[in-house]
């Protein structure tokens, strides 16, 4: 099974080669995060090393004081005493200052890397096509952005400085031991062999445990987010108990994998300590016999053993570092997988500018199917002149929305060509395409922030006057003005306080403000009552006719609506069936010709009485 991108993301037990591949991917990501801050990285390490040196200086100065300053003082000279005191204070100040510096510097380092990664993930998820978002849940993306990044943060905050100082300490101690007696030095180094195997064992097992932990925590988060965003339905259908049970199980799973990874570390870390201590005993044994034989001075043996013991002191911290490293690596495996996903709708390499779109749309031999599955649109040829208002009519699932999404470039056509003003959509500059083509759907999502902010999404930087004009044009001004703080009212989470119809009005105002050359409305008025719908239509027709907010020529509109009141005012009606245009003409023509549209229209008129 491939491990490319996010496929196979939930599998913790990867084959050897797959495991290697994702590890490499994760390390490459880590490397690319360090690269921009490598200067600070080395500077921080230098500070750690320096502070370590001044720290070591302290005891040396004390020794100097006792060995030299004291006799000198007794001999009547207080110079060395003053020197010792001054040096000690200087070393203390230097150590403290350097420590404070590297603590801050480490934070800057880790925060810079985290910000970088956060933005990368955010930008990338925004870039990924809807196709991806439809199968990858929002909860997972949130998990990647929160708990996975948290793991990296732990590594960055905890590890680096302790690792550097620990290593340095070990090197210095090893040199001392070798200087005293190379044979004991060899014994000490030999302890590295079992430690290596222990580390290998730990790596192998903890890797799986940490991968599982990422998978399970993502599951926990997905469930949590789904419950909280769907709380009304949860309550209305008394799903609380079932949810609580499921969440309890997931939490327990999460606990179990957490305990497993901690327990692995609980073997690894004391294991290292044990190997170190056994090594001390061996050095003692080996040296002891040589002392008995007279080959080794007792004092040297004492120094050897104490140094050996000290040599293994930082092993504790290094085990901790390795632990967070494994955890971060597993997290980065998932994050790098997400980043590896390629948007199926790609920005053009050489974007064609289209500063003043007219809104002429042409489908030529267009075929389209979702993924590798069934063909939804078979060979479509269609020309929509600039300024025309076209209604798409047909049964649910006929492919109307698909056509709309193709024009908005939510998807790319599988074959054939789809052009705006003669330019292939996929060659158009992304920003200009979005300025020229705007789609309003049935689900009117509101972001937290004020009502004005939400309307301004249509055109950032619009003045308050323009925002109000847009709201007035669609008949939303009245209810907005009646809100507690008018346009500055916070819509709260998912528009908790405005009704579904009001949300649609706000999202209409958004589109109105954007004033695109091509406006696509996919069931955008379904929640409106009839008077509001009429107001929206009035605003819409003035926008489409070009007499709206700015003086310009007429706009193209693609309208999908079940209520044919919207359709009646269209210039042209296309009846879609199985992705094909089966009827094409003005509403009046189609009604009189007695086809599908005439039947639908008749049924609709009957439904009005």
């Amino acid at each position: 099974m491939s491990t490319f991108g996010t496929s196979n993301e939930d599998n913790a037990h990867l084959s050897r080669s797959d495991s290697k591949a994702v590890r490499r991917r994760s390390l490459a990501l880590l490397g690319s995060l360090i690269r921009p801050v490598r200067v600070r990285f080395w500077l921080t390490l230098a500070m750690v090393v320096l502070s370590q040196a001044t720290r070591v200086a302290g005891p040396a100065i004390i020794a100097f004081g006792i060995d030299h300053a004291l006799p000198a003082l007794q001999a009547g000279s207080n110079g060395p005493l003053v020197l010792a005191g001054a040096l000690y204070l200087a070393a203390a100040v230097a150590t403290a200052a350097l420590t404070a510096l590297y603590v801050t510097s480490t934070a800057r380092l880790s925060q810079a890397m985290l910000l970088d990664l956060r933005l990368r993930v955010f930008r990338h998820t925004q870039r990924l096509s809807l196709e991806f978002h439809e199968k990858y849940t929002s909860g997972r993306i949130i998990a990647r952005q929160t708990s996975d990044l948290e793991a990296l943060r732990e590594l960055l905050d905890s590890g680096v400085s302790s690792l550097a100082s620990g290593l340095l300490f070990m090197v210095f101690t090893a040199i001392t031991v070798f200087a005293l007696d190379w044979r004991s030095g060899l014994i000490m180094l030999a302890a590295g062999i079992p430690m290596f195997f222990l580390a290998r064992w730990y790596q192998k097992h903890s890797q799986i445990a940490f991968r599982e932990s990422r998978v399970v925590s993502a599951r926990l988060i997905v469930h949590f987010v789904e419950t909280m965003t769907g709380i009304r339905a949860v309550k209305a259908f008394r799903k609380e108990k079932e949810n609580a049970q499921r969440y309890g199980e997931l939490s327990e799973d999460y606990r179990r994998v957490t305990v497993r990874s901690i327990n692995l570390n609980g073997i690894f870390q004391p294991g290292l300590v044990l190997i170190g201590n056994v090594c001390v005993a061996v050095v003692l044994l080996f040296g002891g016999f040589r002392v008995l034989g007279g080959d080794l001075a007792v004092g040297v043996l004492l120094a050897l053993i104490l140094s050996t013991k000290r040599f293994f002191q930082p092993v504790d911290q290094m085990a901790m570092f390795y632990n967070s490293f494994q955890s971060a690596q597993a997290a980065l495996e998932k994050v790098s997988g997400l980043l590896e996903e390629v948007p199926t709708v790609r920005p053009p390499k050489n974007p064609v500018p289209l500063p003043h779109a007219r809104g002429e749309i042409a489908f030529r031999d267009v075929e389209f199917g979702y993924g590798a599955g069934t063909v939804v649109v078979p060979r479509l040829n269609l020309h929509i002149p600039a300024g025309q208002t076209v209604a798409l009519v047909g049964q649910t699932g006929a492919g109307k929305s698909t056509l709309a999404k193709l024009i908005a470039r939510f998807y790319d056509v599988t074959s054939g060509s789809l052009t705006l003003d003669g330019v292939e959509l996929r060659d158009l500059d992304g920003a200009e395409l979005r300025r020229a083509v705007v789609m309003v759907t049935q689900e009117a999502f509101l972001f937290s922030g004020s009502v004005a902010d939400n309307i301004a999404l249509g055109r950032p930087g619009a003045s308050r006057g323009e925002i109000e004009a847009a709201a007035r044009a669609v008949g939303a001004h009245e209810f907005i003005a009646a809100l507690p703080e008018g346009y500055d009212t916070d819509v709260n989470k998912r528009g908790g306080r405005v009704s579904a119809g009001q949300r649609q009005l706000i999202s209409f105002a958004r589109a109105f403000l954007a004033a695109p050359a091509v406006l696509i409305l996919d069931e955008a008025t379904s929640s409106l009552d009839i008077p509001s719908e009429r107001l929206v239509q009035a605003g819409l027709s003035s926008l489409l006719a070009g007499t709206g907010t700015e003086a310009r020529s007429a706009r193209t509109a693609i309208i999908i609506a079940h209520r044919l009141s919207t359709v009646e005012s269209a210039d042209r009606v296309l009846v879609i069936h199985d992705g094909k245009v089966v009827e094409d003409g003005t509403p009046a023509e189609l009604i009189s010709s007695g086809g599908r549209f005439a039947a639908l229209h008749g049924a609709w008129r009957e439904s009005l009485v």
Partner: protein
């Protein structure tokens, strides 16, 4: 948001959770203490062994005995380290999981109004990172804090026995540290709380950016979303760095002051030794002990920061847990003597807790088995009225008066047990929430008898036959983690869910808005049969939906202004005609019709003013 409470007041609240595991925590603490005692004693034991037993020409058994002693101590040290983890990890993760599950349970119970206010990212950060941190603090931070404090206290005690003068100098440094740590505590608590809140907000932004991805893509606003996210992430980064700076400053003080005191102590000690008031041996021993004490003192900065972070994580946890659930079952729930499904609004009023009143004195009687349509313009309060029935919100009259009541068969809905009430009442909302599970589970969520027949019937009534032709039929996974359905398909599943619940009272909020005319007609024909004995309150925007109803209630500015049959209202109520009638006598001239309606709208608007 953040109320400053004292450290111990906050930590004390952890006690009930920790009490059952307290013995194990104490055992863990003892193991940690013993481990550090053993670690400290190994060098002393070595010294004695080497100096007293190992002499050139001595017995070989002495070497063996020494090595074994050291080996035993070494094993004991490693064993105690492992033991500490064994004692602590399982209980700590259990407490974490328990707190997580109870948080989730409480969140599910809290009112919809609460969830309107709180972004799910904020809640998620409480459930995940805060509790993770708390666990780590319990298992490591808190224990180490005690061990460190004890080590320092014992160390200082030992120092006093060596030289009270020098010990006093050393202790003098503690005074400014204590004063400073007081200030640090206050400032660090503020900034750590800020960073936790900002991290939660950031998660909320991620969540919205994913849920609103279609809107962002449709308007091409990914760049603005990224900028907004960048701004927030940058703020968090700044906060984190400010936090690190404070911690660095603290560690600077904590490292520097004792070292400065030692510097002074060095000079004083040598002076004392030169006058013979202090033996050189004591001087050496004093500084050796000081070196042992210095490390934990330095460490204490980190441990204190950890404790403060744990404290604010705990505050955040209890902030949610302390929010009282206002919609609860009464202590003595009542039932109607016979459940017939009569629904009565009695001077019911409603206002959002921070907004103006939305519904005033609604009095409306719906007879058992009757279908009542609710008609009104967008924002007139229809949805709010519906949500009072299953108690998603409770009636409220604003500050000075009670909000009336909603009764089912004469019993106030607030006197029902919530569970029973929501069994009696089923709802389908306009914005449909489907859960990540199969079609079958979604539809049968509230069904009294989850049988195949019930499923088939519900799907048939809702005209959701498409479910059978999904890839895995009715076992196809839908919802966020499954197949994505179109708006109309989702609505029909949600409608089927409400029908399958077989409620006495059915509340439908414009459940057919996304359906085309033909499907709507079919659904209505079947609904009419099924709803014969079910009391139904249905929000209608279209005459076709009204046709389902026996009577219609007209909601105007939060008041019921008229009740009657569709024909009656059409004949006598101008506002009703305005809201519901889309077909006038001569519909051909659309433009003039529009103008007339706009005039009418203006008049209505003026009259309202």
């Amino acid at each position: 948001m953040s109320k400053q409470t004292s450290f111990f007041t906050s930590i004390k609240r952890l006690y009930p959770h920790v009490r059952p595991i307290l013995p194990r925590l104490v055992l863990g603490l003892l193991s940690a203490l013993l481990a550090s005692v053993v670690a400290l004693s190994i060098p002393q034991v070595l010294r004695v062994l080497v100096n007293d037993f190992l002499k050139p020409g001595g017995a070989g058994s002495a070497v063996w005995i020494s090595a074994v002693v050291i080996l035993v101590l070494g094993i004991a040290e490693a064993g105690l380290v492992a033991l500490r983890r064994q004692f602590v990890i399982n209980p700590a993760t259990t407490v974490e999981t328990r707190m997580r599950v109870s948080l989730y349970g409480h969140l599910q119970d809290l009112t919809v109004a609460f969830h309107d206010r709180w972004g799910s990212g904020q809640l998620l950060s409480r459930a995940m990172s805060d509790l993770n941190f708390l666990r780590r603090w319990m298992a490591f931070g808190a224990i180490m804090l005690v061990v460190t404090t004890l080590t320092v206290a014992i160390g200082v005690g030992v120092m006093f026995t060596m030289s009270w003068q020098l010990a006093l100098i050393f202790l003098a440094a503690a005074l400014p540290i204590m004063v400073y740590s007081f200030r640090f505590r206050r400032r660090f608590s503020l900034v750590t709380r800020l960073s936790q809140d900002q991290a939660g907000d950031l998660a909320t932004t991620v969540e919205e950016s994913v849920h609103g991805i279609r809107v962002l893509k449709a308007f091409g606003r990914s760049r603005e979303a990224l900028e907004n996210f960048n701004g927030q992430a940058e703020e968090l980064r700044q906060t984190e760095i400010a936090k690190a700076k404070q911690q660095a400053e603290f560690s600077l003080v904590v490292t520097l002051l004792p070292e400065l005191a030692l510097g002074v102590g060095l000079v004083a000690g040598i002076l004392l030794a030169s006058t013979g008031e202090l033996s050189i041996g004591s001087l050496v021993a004093f500084f050796a002990t000081a070196a042992v004490v210095a490390a934990p003192v330095e460490f204490s900065g980190m441990l204190l920061a950890m404790a403060l972070t744990a404290k604010s994580a705990l505050d955040r946890h209890f902030e949610v847990m302390d929010t009282a659930n206002t919609i609860t079952s009464p202590s003595a729930p009542q039932h109607p003597r016979e459940l017939r499904g009569g629904l009565r609004f009695e001077q019911a009023s409603f206002a959002f807790d921070d907004g103006g009143p939305l519904l005033h004195d609604i009095t409306l009687d719906i007879r058992p088995g009757e279908t009542m349509a609710l008609v009104g313009v967008t924002g007139s309060g229809k949805s709010a009225l519906l949500q009072l029935v299953p108690r998603l919100y409770d009636v409220s009259g604003g500050a000075e008066r009670t909000g009336g009541a909603v009764r089912i068969d004469g019993v106030d809905v607030r006197d029902f047990s919530v569970e029973e009430l929501r069994t009696v009442v089923a709802v389908a909302f306009e914005d449909t929430t489907l859960f990540s599970s199969s079609v079958r589970e979604n539809v049968l969520l509230g069904a009294p008898e989850p049988t195949e027949a019930a499923l088939d019937e519900a799907l048939d009534v809702a005209q959701a036959h498409f479910a059978y032709s999904l890839p895995d039929g009715v076992d196809t996974l839908i919802g966020e983690e499954g197949l994505s359905l179109s708006g109309g398909q989702r609505q029909r599943i949600a409608l089927a869910r409400a029908i399958a619940a077989k409620p006495r009272v059915l509340v439908l909020d414009d459940p057919l808005s996304a359906l085309d005319v033909n499907t709507e007609e079919l659904v209505e024909a079947r609904l009419r049969e099924v709803l014969k004995d079910t009391t139904t309150l249905i929000v209608a925007h279209r005459p076709s939906t009204v046709a389902l109803a026996d009577r219609v209630a007209l909601l105007e500015d939060g008041r019921i202004s008229d009740v009657g049959t569709h024909t009656e209202l059409l004949a006598r109520n101008q506002h009703y005609r305005f809201v519901i009638a889309s077909l006038d006598e001569c519909p051909k001239d659309l433009d003039s019709e529009l103008e007339r309606e706009l005039d009418e709208m203006e008049e209505a608007g003026e009259a309202r003013r």
